[in-house]
């Protein structure tokens, strides 16, 4: 082990980050460094980055497990002579169970596998949701994969494929879940295993499932298909419980009604009245008084499309494609919609073009036609402001005559 020969710590800057209230990642690496030379060298390489203010990693694009095009992120450091134990330091993305639920036994199993085959360092979890096993050599990839699959785990997506879908905690522990986010997430993941492991799209495609418009997995901001629970009937009200909140000091007029985006609530000091036809299901009033208000019972989801980060053509939020869809197994309607979108996108997409980008490039109207969805006003914030309408065809004088004749012809048998 490369120790310090009495010259003090080899990592003074990182040591500083062991102080303070918040749990320290440096402590985590050090805990493992006691047993793993890789972790010791990682610490020293990171210290060097702190000193020089630059990173020391190179991207590897080839390593992986046999047959899959995703799930492994290749990493090499640019100082392999000095840091040989982490010359290769690849990441595996392991598909987490829906909702990130574990038992202590299965967590220990994952730890056993990773202690045997890798650095022992992880992210619980990566920002897409996968279990991230951080750092191993090329030789260990296949054995790690074998051990994982023997324990019923598989790799997640990376590259131009379906990325690991994720879901909020949903009906497992949230009274607001308007559909079974965990089951849908699991079902989509299993149905699209081939699309997840064998990249065949122009670029990545993400599904994220949130049970209500609070959108706890941030699906509207970071998934190509955002599936956000909602309801069509009335908010369920327990008027006694509302009065209880009022008695306990909640200013219902100001903080509940006053914050309603459509001003569709009225409080007369005794009853709370909601004009449900104008409620946009924003969740504010329900969040503020969870014991008094609940979503309705005719539940489903709004499907939105096209969120993406700034790369390549600028960032977007998802926008509405289906205002309301019932979501019950076997979920054929949503799978069918996804496949129609993939067909069009794979056929016409440019390299590294996300769904949100092709929608813009070909025009939302044309995109809708291609995937067989009718345009409806729920899809827009407001109609176009600019008058540059690109009609695809126009009629000549003769066309009209011909048409008239045809019509007349049809009228006279």
């Amino acid at each position: 082990m490369s120790e310090t020969n009495g010259k003090g710590s080899a990592t003074p800057m990182l040591d500083e980050l062991e102080k303070g209230e918040w749990p320290s990642f440096v402590t985590q690496i050090k805990e493992m460094a006691a047993e793993k030379e890789q972790c010791q060298q990682l610490l020293e390489l990171l210290e060097r980055s702190y000193r020089e203010k630059i990173g020391h990693w190179k991207h590897g694009g080839i390593v992986g497990v046999h047959g899959y095009g995703g799930g492994v992120i290749g990493r090499y450091n640019d100082l392999p002579e000095e840091f040989p134990a982490i010359a290769h330091f690849h990441t595996l993305r392991v598909n987490m169970p829906s909702g990130w639920f574990y038992t202590s036994d299965v967590l220990r199993k994952i730890c056993d596998i990773w202690d045997e085959h890798g650095s022992g360092l992880t992210n619980m979890h990566g920002s897409t949701g996968d279990i991230i096993l951080l750092g191993t050599t090329t030789d260990e990839l296949e054995p790690t994969f074998k051990a994982l699959t023997e324990n019923d785990f598989d790799l997640g997506g990376s590259g131009s494929d379906v990325r690991t879908p994720s879901a909020c905690v949903g009906p497992a522990r949230c009274e607001w879940a308007c559909y079974d986010t965990l089951d849908l997430c699991n079902d989509l993941t299993q149905t699209f295993q081939d699309e997840l492991h064998r990249p065949a799209f122009p670029y990545k495609f993400k599904f994220k499932c949130s049970g209500c418009p609070n959108d706890c997995v941030a699906s509207i901001a970071r998934s190509d298909m955002s599936i956000i629970g909602t309801w069509r009937d009335d908010i369920r009200i327990d008027q006694d419980a509302v009065r209880e909140y009022a008695e306990n000091g909640v200013n219902i007029e100001r903080d509940i009604c006053g914050n309603c985006p459509t001003k569709c609530m009225e409080w007369d000091g005794h009853d709370l009245e909601i004009d449900n036809g104008n409620c946009v299901k924003c969740m504010h009033c329900i969040n503020a008084m969870p014991k008094a208000l609940r979503p309705g019972v005719d539940t489903g989801a709004t499907i939105l499309l096209g969120a993406k980060a700034p790369i390549v053509q600028g960032a977007q939020l998802s926008s509405v494609i289906v205002p309301f869809m019932k979501l019950e197994p076997p979920y054929d309607e949503i799978k069918d919609l996804a496949e129609r979108i993939w067909d069009f996108w794979s056929e016409n997409g440019k390299n590294r073009e996300r769904v949100g980008e092709i929608m813009q490039r070909v025009g939302m109207g044309n995109f809708l036609e291609a995937i067989g969805v009718d345009p409806i006003p729920e899809m827009i914030a407001y109609p176009r402001e600019n008058p540059y309408v690109f009609y695809e065809e126009y009629y000549e004088e003769e066309d009209e005559e011909a048409e008239q004749e045809e019509e007349e012809g049809a009228a006279v048998p």
């Binding site: 800057m13 980050l17 209230e21 918040w22 990642f25 990682l42 702190y50 020089e52 630059i54 990693w57 991207h59 046999h66 899959y68 990493r75 987490m96 169970p97 909702g99 990130w100 038992t103 202590s104 299965v106 967590l107 220990r108 730890c111 360092l121 992880t122 992210n123 979890h125 920002s127 074998k146 699959t149 019923d152 785990f153 598989d154 909020c168 905690v169 009906p171 522990r173 009274e175 079974d180 699991n186 993941t189 299993q190 295993q193 492991h197 418009p213 609070n214 959108d215 706890c216 941030a218 509207i220 901001a221 309603c260 946009v280 969740m283 504010h284 980060a309 700034p310 790369i311 939020l317």
Partner: protein, 357 residues
């Protein structure tokens, strides 16, 4: 091969890992209450109660620490636990009496309990210098420094008006989910890639050219061999080209650093989701404590805590008081970089005569 190689099995079914109380009350929860910082109870139609204790984590965890979590789950929760979308760990208890002991055990391990309700939750973040090739700053270190400073808002010591979500991504690729956060910390490069000799041996030139979103890369011949040149006036430092071609390094100690963005939100409550907007264009990297970043984040948080109405998120607050007031209150200098100059920039200009004086 000894046994059939298993592939395409997907993740294990989550139902295997649900605690019995959740299996019995699945989809039948009635309401929940926040009992104290980091602790909530969900009450089912059946009357069953499930207590959740949420603890902060550094996200980067060694297996030793994960085994400690497993031990706690065995001791208090029948072996059940889960993680949240913001890297927190949640212990699921059925016996109210276990709440204080598990909080004490977590404190001993160094994990604060909090982040539920009107509070700052853990910072969603990316890999940084620990593991990524295009990082303009570190991720874990900045997060640690900021959370050390803000922990009073996580563990409920200081009450705040509503939720505050912070996220960090160490480059414009933003694999961490930052663009829609109340406060976003984003690593930025400011120097165009340098073209290394022998580029054509490592990279395919048409792919390199196609990688650039702003068409800043053109074919060129350098000393008789094919290579590329960069039109520096068109480069916005996304590092896309470096991802495609390692012979175009971007990292640069003098020019890399951090920017801060504010006022984004994801949830639909009250106001529609919003993107984060630029607050501080550039702060130098200053490891290990990134003092200026920490100070700026704190200033922004304090202005919001002082001025926001109950439930009001950062973006709603700023919309109400106006951007000029935001810059005045925070003391952040307004510069030309704050004004968008990419496509459709005009949409972000102030197109009315509404001015507060």
């Amino acid at each position: 091969m000894d046994t059939q190689r298993r592939t395409d099995i997907g993740p294990p079914d989550f139902r295997r890992f649900l605690p019995p109380i959740i299996k019995e009350n699945y989809g039948k929860w009635k309401y929940h209450e926040i009992l104290k910082p980091g602790v909530m109870v969900h009450v089912a139609e059946s009357g069953d109660k499930l207590f959740t204790v949420r603890a902060g984590s550094p996200r980067l965890l060694g297996t030793k620490r994960i085994r400690k979590y497993a031990e706690l789950a065995d001791k208090y929760c029948g072996g059940h636990l889960r993680f949240t979308s913001r890297h927190n760990v949640e212990f699921l208890l059925t016996d109210e009496k276990n709440i204080d002991p598990i909080i004490a055990d977590l404190a001993e391990l160094g994990h604060p309990v909090g982040g539920i309700g009107p509070a700052i939750s853990s910072i969603v973040h990316t890999q940084g210098w620990v593991h990524c090739h295009s990082a303009a700053t570190d991720a874990s270190g900045v997060v640690k420094a900021v959370m050390d400073d803000l922990h009073e808002y996580f563990d409920g010591t200081t009450k705040i008006p509503g939720k505050l979500r912070i996220a960090l991504a160490c480059c414009l690729n933003m694999c961490g989910a930052v663009h829609c956060s109340d406060i976003s910390i984003l690593g930025v490069h400011r120097r165009p890639p340098r073209v290394q000799q022998g580029l054509a041996k490592v990279c395919e030139i048409p792919n390199v050219i196609a990688a650039c979103p702003t068409a800043a890369i053109r074919p060129a011949s350098v000393e008789g061999t094919p290579s590329v040149e960069i039109d520096e006036s068109l480069c916005m430092f996304c590092a896309n080209c470096f991802s495609v071609c390692p012979a175009l390094p971007m990292a640069d100690a003098l020019n890399d650093g951090v920017s801060l963005w504010v006022g984004g939100k994801v949830s639909n409550a009250r106001h529609e989701p919003m993107f984060s907007k630029l607050a501080v264009p550039f702060i130098e990297n200053d490891p290990p404590r990134w003092t200026e970043v920490v100070q700026n984040v704190r200033k922004i948080v304090e202005v919001w805590v002082d001025g926001a109405r109950p439930h009001e998120r950062m973006g709603e607050f700023i919309e109400r008081i106006g951007w000029p007031k935001f810059f005045k209150l925070t003391g952040i200098e307004f510069q030309k970089e704050h004004i968008d100059d990419y496509r459709y920039a005009g949409l972000t200009f102030h197109r009315s005569a509404w001015v507060r004086h």
